[in-house]
Amino acid sequence: MFSANVRNRTTIVTREFTSRMYLLAMLGLATSSVISDPAIGNPTGNDPSKPLKTHATVDGATALANALYEIYNEELIHVTKMYENRDNPASFSDRQISKSAARLWKARRDAKHLELMSEPAGADLSRKLFLLAHQIDQFGLAYARTPRGSQMMTKLTTKLQRERPRFQKFLQQAATSLQNGGGQNVFTTQMETKGEEKREALVFFRPLEHKKYLLNFEVLLSEGDQRQRKQRRTEYLAKATEKVNTELASAAASAAEMKRISRELVDTGAAALSEGVKGSGVQAFSHVSELWVQASANLTRANAIGWIMTNRNTEQISSKVSELKTEALAALTAIINSVATHTPPDQIPAAYTSLLRQISVLDRRTSGRYQVSESCKPALDLLAKRNSTFPARIESYKRATSEPLRWRSSFASQQAKYLSTQYADAGALLMSKEKVEKSIRPNFNRTLGGETVLAAKNFNEPADWMVYEAANRLVGKTVREGKLIRLSPTSRTAAVPFLNGHYANISVTLPVENALADLRTALLLDDKHQALSSDATEAISSGEMQDYLAVGGTIQQVQLESLVTRFIAFPDLAIALTPLGGLPQPTAGNSPLEQTCWRLDISPNWGHSRYFTVRSQQTPTTGNQTAQTAN
């Protein structure tokens, strides 16, 4: 019972996230690791050398990418050291130059292979390895002009000429193999071995002289590459198609399961939710919501794989997302109707409030405003009428709470406006330009231009340089973000959904207890009395979940991911990044494969729940200024 006249508003009431919170539980015990596993990678401002994560649609991509990043890191050390001594080329090691040149030649070819697998890491590696190869070529030519280098060149020329007949024979055999359509992999392996061997020597020769010693090697290699590229592309597209089909099949199975559950409930009042376990309508509501989440994750992944397949029409996935939403909403409505039919009148209020709560959580995770609640409203109204006194009680409750909710909503909006004045919009800030003051660009590429975009929408430079320079200019800045969705009721992390090339991870640290206790008092809530209106349920559910309409905070870290990898390697629990019934949208006009996906890790300073604002203990109020409010 309430003690009406003695209201201890500062008492923190422990809230139940128990049996009614099936949907929330379904969102799991996710943590920030769901969105990013630091062991797996993606470069950050703190650790820019981490490789770009692969989506691994094609087997072997991850191993190949890791091996190539290792080569890059090793060769970067050699190149940097040689560049330091560039004024004294005689100090260079000819063996190191030969070895690096051959290694980089092969690595660049492998990076192209990664690109063929539609791995953004491939383009990043190609960019990086080109820069190193260019430097090695310069070192080779510089060394060749030294006295020791001249002697070496004489010996190398003699060696190349001596090898010429044998090389010609090799090329003839290669041409025959190519003509006869022999084993493509064998051809490529042998050609690459020969290519590395030639590269070891030719790095010391001017490019114009290369042809003299390579004969028709490059023409044959190019022909073989073209053929192999075509074969690989077909193979990889088939692999991607297979993965898309697997995702679509899972989504279809979830949709069919939704229908079965709702049908069983309508017929019998209970439905099998897992093997041997039957559940009530209220439990089925959360189960169907979970199926919707799983199927949406399936479609999100299928859509992202479609981005890397040029022949895939992603509109097909969009229409499947819409269909799924329609099916999910129909199943949820049918479940509420079944609850109305099969629940004894005295249990209607408990079922009603539990469903209201689940609907509220789903609403905030669904595209469009209040789509779930609007769709479920007629069924909920019918459910309420199954208890003759309950509708009048709901009406009284609405009248008793609607005015404080109106005032609190307006107050919170005004405060949020006031609080956000010192906070730049995160999306606009990322697109703004600023001069680069600090960089990790290696010594051979240190020239910094003028002002550049803080977080470019496309990969246009090595990812480690990009993330370092972005983090250097962004970390410590205060920004405001829009809608914030907590990953689960117990998660320490909430996410700002992906929009315009970025998303945010925000730690759930705002001290919300006093505001919540005050809200509960105003809304007449205690352990035995739940909210009876959708507005009041929304107020308390969003407050307890700490799902905010807007949040302001300080950027702690910046991570650079690839857009396609983000949404192909997409765990179900990361669904907070993309609302149910929607799909992440790449920037129009640019290839998704080249697009970046920036993640900001933000420590919150304030949050705007629909009915209150809350600020961190480090963000004090501005103090006891002269009141203008009464004027």
Partner: protein, 210 residues
């Protein structure tokens, strides 16, 4: 309760365009036009007579109108930086009937209207008392919400704090309650603090719901 002693006149001045009446004083002008040929002394005498007559007419007219008008309520709050007086105050006691306390809601605007009238104020608290008339003598802790104009900052009680409303007297002839409002601090949406030194109100009981 000092403000409540001269209730009607406060209401009229605070809300000149509201539901209280004002009389136009025209007899003086009529006397002046009739006496256009009189001496100055005669004219002054006529003027005094007319003034006296006008006052008498005015007082009786006001009394007559007041007798016909229903009570609309009034609230006075000593707020910083300036006092606030708002006419038309309604009180509603809402019972939900499922074991929750009843809600006392005191408003200076029509909650069912799409836009509020300003200044706007809401006092919202809970009580175990089941009828509004029985609130006399009760003490209710309330949230207070206040906005001077539709574009000014909103002020409301801080989380965990409340304003004390002490109901004084039930007036059956007006179906109204008088009450005092205790002191307290409100938080402005602009982060400024608004002090209330106290106040009082007369609220008309509206559609009591069981």
């Amino acid at each position: 309760m000092s403000h409540l002693t001269n209730w009607s006149s406060v209401g009229a001045s605070a809300n000149p365009s509201g539901r209280n009446y004002r009389l136009r004083i025209t007899p003086i002008l009529m006397v002046l036009s009739i006496c256009s040929g009189c001496s100055k002394e005669e004219m002054n005498q006529a003027l005094e007579k007319a003034k006296s007559k006008t006052q008498s007419i005015t007082q009786s007219a006001v009394q007559a109108v007041e007798e016909q008008l229903p009570e609309t309520g009034m609230i006075n709050l000593n707020m910083t930086p300036s006092a606030v007086a708002i006419s038309a105050v309604d009180l509603e006691l809402i019972s939900i009937g499922d074991g929750r306390p009843n809600v006392v809601q005191i408003v200076t605007y029509d909650p069912s209207a799409s836009t509020r009238s300003y200044p706007a104020l809401l006092l919202h608290g809970t009580t175990e008392v089941s009828s509004a008339s029985a609130l006399a003598g009760e003490r209710v802790l309330c949230d207070l919400y206040y906005q001077a104009t539709n574009s000014s900052p909103i002020a409301m009680t801080k989380p965990g704090e409340a304003i004390v409303v002490e109901f004084q007297q039930y007036k059956p002839e007006d179906n109204a309650l008088t009450a005092t409002v205790g002191a307290g601090a409100l938080l402005g949406s602009d982060d400024r603090t608004v002090q209330i030194e106290g106040g009082d109100f007369l609220a008309v009981i509206r559609g009591e719901e069981k």
